[in-house]
């Protein structure tokens, strides 16, 4: 019975800002994730435009391993030319195949860039 198991996915901030990084022509933002899904260990990060087409970005790992009840802080770097296109940064749970007859829930949270 899963009803009483803490099983949640969260990512903050909701409205990150891209600011110039230490590298010329590269902008940066910092995101934080908390994994309370006991059934999930991996989350995939992506950056998207307003129509959810992918926008190039760099982070330490595009698939992050986040243990149950762990926090992870990660930086996202985007080229200056792509800053105007980047609208969403999303994290999506990655689910493993299991040998049971069931449905599974893939969660995705998208924050929205709000630049001055």
């Amino acid at each position: 019975m899963l009803a009483n198991v803490a099983s949640a996915h969260e990512m903050t901030p909701t409205y990150p800002k891209l600011t110039p990084s230490a590298y010329d022509g590269i902008y940066k933002t910092t995101m934080k994730m908390f994994n309370k899904r006991v059934d999930i260990q991996y989350y995939e990060v992506g950056v998207f435009d307003k129509d959810f087409n992918t926008v190039p970005f760099v982070t330490s790992y595009s698939v992050l391993k986040i243990d149950y009840l762990s926090h992870v802080t990660f930086d996202i770097y985007i080229r200056e030319n792509d800053v105007a296109k980047a609208v969403y940064v999303c994290s999506k749970s990655k689910i493993r195949i299991e040998d049971i007859r069931r449905t599974a829930i893939s969660s995705r949270i998208c924050s929205k860039f709000k630049n001055d």
Binding site: T12, T14, R37, Y88, I95, R101, I105, I109
Partner: protein
Amino acid sequence: MFKQITLGLLLGTTFIAAAVSAETVPINGVVQSRCIIQTDNAGTYGNPNAYTLSTGVTDGGEPAIVRFDVSLADAYYAIITAPADFSSSPTLPDVVTFTGDTTVSSVSDATGMGTYEASKVELGMADKYDLTATGSTWFETTSTATMGGNKSFPGGSYTALIVAECIAQ
């Protein structure tokens, strides 16, 4: 007698000194607006007959329950998509037809969230809700898979994915 009084004074002084030297330990926290997707029940398929898999309770299954907690009003959309195929299954003998639906099963604020179900936008298997109030909303997603030609589902394990998304506005 004098020694006993001196010892008592010393012990008393030590106790007071320990009490005075206690320090406060702050617990820090930052409150940020956020959306949390909580999986209350991942759901299970029942097998009411040879050619049907269903999450319906009367079919022996369990619907999926997902809770969205938001701490900022008018800041998020919830999009929940019922499965349209199996993510894993044995080799199937025919085409499988999927039906599914998502409904609001419970809310923490009946006044602010009472119109969620009536205001939702259905886009195929996806249901989109505008989360206009802060608090928790429980969504129930049902799924039924029917094998074509009244053929039986082969024995084995079946998994289908429900996608729950919280998108900042």
